[in-house]
């Protein structure tokens, strides 16, 4: 059984139907990139997966457990699904280590010493161990985003959602964040990314999902999808970004 099972997901904002029935299964350890034009529903879909948005219809299961519709408390959710945002959203008044320790200590009730150990491990993983006492305002965008990844990982989630995590970065800082994601993928972390980094989608992900008008329009392994798109919408999209 797949780790994440999404069934017939529908979501509207007022009269605007953003998701029109999404079905998707994701295996443990799989790296899935979701691509598509803005407004295609890809970010909304991602935000439904950790219930930042509540969908109107359909179900989401994670490791055979129902995740949506209030079946999981916010605390449980955060230990199953982590999320990294486009704009980092670090807490400006907390140092790097405090940012990473906050949720384990407050939500998971981990003893501080243990939480600090885990936080240091995660910061080491993203190469930010030496900036442990800095405030977010003292860091570059790429460094902030790496801390944000460590913060999500500290809850030891089964899946990590990445919502355009390099879109707000200066071009020269994109590489360091993608490098971290690549090493997470190599470790077997399940990643679901909404991304505009086509090279990354092609090189690192196991599967690419192309969303169009609230549907999964086409999906498959990156090589085939990028070189032999089946639908005209996807070939137009690829042509427009390359």
């Amino acid at each position: 059984m797949a780790l994440v099972v999404v069934n017939d997901l529908h979501k509207s904002f007022g009269d605007l139907e953003v998701l029109k029935g999404i079905d998707l299964e994701i295996e443990a350890g799989e790296v899935v990139s979701i691509i598509g034009r803005s407004g295609s529903g890809k970010s909304t879909f991602l935000r439904c997966l950790n219930q930042l948005e509540h969908h109107d219809w359909g179900t989401i299961h994670l490791a055979d457990q129902r995740l949506d519709g209030g079946a999981m408390s916010p605390g449980e959710l955060s230990q199953n699904v982590g999320m990294v945002f486009q704009s980092f959203n670090l807490f400006p008044h907390k140092t790097v280590i405090e940012n990473v320790m906050l949720a384990p200590v407050v939500v998971k009730q981990t003893p501080r010493a243990e939480a600090r150990q885990v936080a240091e491990q995660m910061l080491d993983k993203v190469g930010m161990l030496e900036k442990i006492d800095a405030y977010p305002g003292q860091l570059s965008g790429g460094q902030q985003q790496r801390v944000a990844i460590a913060r999500a990982l500290a809850m030891q989630p089964k899946v990590l959602l990445c919502d355009e995590v390099t879109s707000a970065l200066d071009p020269e800082l994109v590489g360091e964040v993608l490098h971290v994601l690549e090493s997470l993928a190599a470790e077997g972390m399940t990643l679901i990314l909404v991304t505009h980094e086509m090279k990354f989608a092609r090189d690192v992900s196991h599967r690419v999902v192309f969303m169009h008008h609230g549907h999964i329009h086409e999906a498959g392994d990156p090589q085939t999808l990028f070189t032999q798109p089946k639908t005209s919408e996807l070939s137009q999209f690829i042509a427009s970004i390359l």
Binding site: L52, P74, F85, N89, F91, H93, G137
Partner: protein
């Protein structure tokens, strides 16, 4: 008329007693009033309900009536309702309620300007509304409205002069008292004016000192 400040010397004790009262009323009001404001701001920031409406009414009534009337209402009105209250307690209560209402509104502005992404990050990490308020929202909100907060506390400190009207022995009461004995109005009020000025400056410096520690994250940072 010649100025003669030595006429105040016999009344040093009174001035000191008045000063001590004004200072402790101010310090106690600052702490309790801000704590009250945090609670009010938290409840009013949440879903509409009875508690939120009641606190909203409290804030509006307090902000739209004279402080001296609030003070008289507590001091003269409560005993009439069968609740005995001393002048000092009435003064402290009136000052706390006053500062609480104004500060709650000031703080609300800071809370409202919290970036949406901060709330989302807190939710994604599993924090409850209270946890998010306490650990994520509160300190940056305070840092954004801190200058207004300092001014409000100084206003309440200066406004505390009014409590002399219900015979609380504060600095102003001391001044009135001395002036009625030695008839040296100019000297007395000049000295007391200077003391209030120093208190206001001191209060501001104290706040700024605390602010630099509390909001260290704002220094040398872009966010």
């Amino acid at each position: 008329m010649t100025l003669d400040f030595s006429t105040l010397l016999p009344y040093l004790d009174e001035i000191l007693e008045g000063l001590v009262t004004t200072v402790w009323l101010t310090v106690a009001t600052t702490f309790v009033g801000i704590a009250l404001a945090i609670v009010v701001a938290y409840v009013r920031d949440g879903a509409p309900g009875i508690a939120s409406s009641l606190l909203g009414a409290y804030v509006e009534v307090t902000r739209n009536t004279p402080f001296i009337v609030q003070l008289f209402f507590l001091f003269f009105g409560l005993p009439a309702l069968g609740v005995p209250i001393s002048a000092t307690v009435a003064a402290l209560l009136a000052m706390v309620l006053n500062l609480g209402a104004y500060t709650a509104e000031i703080l609300r502005a800071g809370i409202d300007s919290t970036a949406r992404g901060q709330h989302e990050a807190a939710r994604a990490l599993g924090l409850s509304r209270l946890q998010s308020f306490r650990h994520v929202v509160l300190v940056p909100a305070f840092s954004r409205v801190y200058p207004s907060l300092i001014s409000q506390c100084i206003i309440v400190m200066l406004g505390s002069a009014v409590v002399s009207q219900i015979s609380v022995f504060d600095l102003t009461y001391a001044a009135n008292f001395i002036q009625s004995r030695n008839f040296r109005g100019f000297e007395v009020y000049l000295v007391v004016t200077l003391i209030y000025l120093l208190l206001a400056v001191g209060l501001r410096l104290g706040f700024e000192f605390v602010g630099r520690r509390l909001f260290a994250f704002r220094q040398g940072g872009s966010s």
